[in-house]
C-alpha cells in the first residue's frame, strides 16, 4: 500500500513522531502498529532525516584559517562606531524623553489657548454681551 496520508504527515511534520500533533500521532498509531509497509515508510523517512542532519550539519564543521584571520581583523580595518551605524535623531533618543516632550508641548498649547481666550473674552465681557442681546 502507498499510504498517501502517512506520506503527507511525514512531509509536513518530519519523521520525529514526538514533534507530530497528538491528533496525528493518535490517528497513525493503529496504522503503524498493524502495517509493516507503513513502518517501513517511517523508518525510511527517519533514515533520510538522519542523513540530512549529518550531511547539512557538516558544512560548518571548520572555519577556514584565512577567513578567521580576516574576521578577527575587522575591528582594526573598519571604523568604530561606523558613521552609518549610529542611529541618528529620533531613534537615538529614549522613548520616555519623547513622551515627556510631547506631553509638555500639549500642555503648553492648551495653556496658551486658555490664556488667550481669558484675555480676549473674560467672563464679565461675556455676561454683558449676553445681557445686551437680551439673553438673560
Amino acid at each position: 500500500m502507498n499510504h498517501p496520508q502517512l506520506h503527507d504527515y511525514l512531509d509536513r511534520y518530519g519523521s520525529d513522531r514526538a514533534q507530530w500533533p497528538w491528533r496525528v500521532r493518535w490517528q497513525t498509531r493503529a496504522l503503524l502498529k498493524g502495517d509493516a509497509t507503513a513502518r517501513d515508510l517511517l523508518a525510511e523517512a527517519q533514515q533520510r532525516d538522519a542523513t540530512l542532519t549529518r550531511t547539512l550539519g557538516r558544512t560548518d564543521a571548520a572555519l577556514p584559517a584565512e577567513l578567521r584571520t580576516r574576521l578577527l581583523r575587522i575591528p582594526q580595518n573598519h571604523p568604530w562606531p561606523a558613521p552609518a551605524s549610529s542611529r541618528p535623531g529620533a531613534a537615538a533618543i529614549a522613548p520616555w524623553v519623547w513622551r515627556g516632550a510631547a506631553l509638555s508641548g500639549t500642555a503648553a498649547v492648551i495653556g496658551f489657548v486658555a490664556g488667550i481666550t481669558g484675555v480676549l473674552a473674560p467672563e464679565w465681557a461675556v455676561d454683558w454681551t449676553m445681557l445686551a442681546y437680551g439673553s438673560f
Binding site: T59, P79, W80, S85
Partner: protein, 189 residues
C-alpha cells in the same frame, strides 16, 4: 569572557571591545560561513559574505535589541539577505544557482565530506531545490534551529515557513524515490 552570553558580548562590542567581538567570531563564524555556503554553493563567495555579516555585526552592535531576537537568528537572517544580495550583484544574469559551477576548492571539500552514496544523492537532490526551500532545510537540519527560529531567520511567518519546509521535504522524497528507482533499473538486467 568566553563564557559570557551573546548579549553581554554584544554590549561590550558596542563599546568597541574587540576581544568581545573576537569571542563572537569564534562562536558563530563557522555556522554563518556554513549557511552562506549552502545558499551560494561557492566557498569563496561564502567567505566574502561571512565577512560582510561580521562587519555589520561590529558596526551595528550598538543598535542591538536583546529582547527582540536571538543573535544566531539575526545572524542567519542577515547572512541569507547578504548572500542573496551578493548573488544578485555578482552573478545577476545567472538564472539558477545550480547553473553556477562551483570552484575546485568547493568540489574538493564536498567530495571529501560526502563519501557515502546516500549522502551524495541527498546532496544532489538538495542542490536542485529552490533557494528558499534549500535555506529552510539547512536551517532546520543543518543548524538545528526550531521552526519558529528558522521562520524568523527567513523573515517568514511560521505558517509560511511550514509550507516551505513541507514542499522541500516532499520534493526531496519524490526526487530520491525517482533516483533510487533509476538506480535499480540500471542494476537489474
Amino acid at each position: 569572557m568566553t563564557d559570557a552570553s551573546d548579549d553581554v558580548l554584544l554590549a561590550a562590542t558596542a563599546r568597541g571591545d574587540s576581544r568581545a567581538f573576537a569571542v563572537l567570531v569564534e562562536r558563530h563564524a563557522a555556522r554563518v560561513h556554513g549557511f552562506a555556503q549552502s545558499v551560494l554553493a561557492d566557498r569563496a563567495e561564502a567567505e566574502d559574505v561571512t565577512q560582510e555579516v561580521f562587519v555589520k555585526l561590529w558596526q551595528h552592535a550598538d543598535a542591538w535589541q536583546a529582547e527582540r531576537a536571538k543573535l544566531s537568528t539575526w545572524l542567519f537572517r542577515v547572512t541569507r539577505n547578504a548572500a542573496l544580495n551578493y548573488r544578485q550583484r555578482v552573478r545577476p544574469r545567472e538564472q539558477a544557482w545550480t547553473e553556477h559551477t562551483p570552484d575546485p576548492a568547493t568540489e574538493a571539500l564536498e567530495t571529501g565530506i560526502e563519501r557515502d552514496e546516500d549522502a551524495q544523492r541527498l546532496q544532489a537532490a538538495i542542490a536542485t531545490l529552490p533557494e528558499q526551500q534549500r535555506s529552510a532545510m539547512h536551517l532546520v537540519y543543518g543548524q538545528g534551529l526550531r521552526q519558529k527560529e528558522a521562520a524568523q531567520a527567513m523573515s517568514l511567518s511560521l505558517k509560511a515557513f511550514e509550507a516551505v519546509l513541507f514542499r522541500a521535504r516532499r520534493r526531496l522524497r519524490e526526487d530520491l524515490t525517482l533516483a533510487s528507482g533509476e538506480a535499480r533499473e540500471d542494476i537489474e538486467p
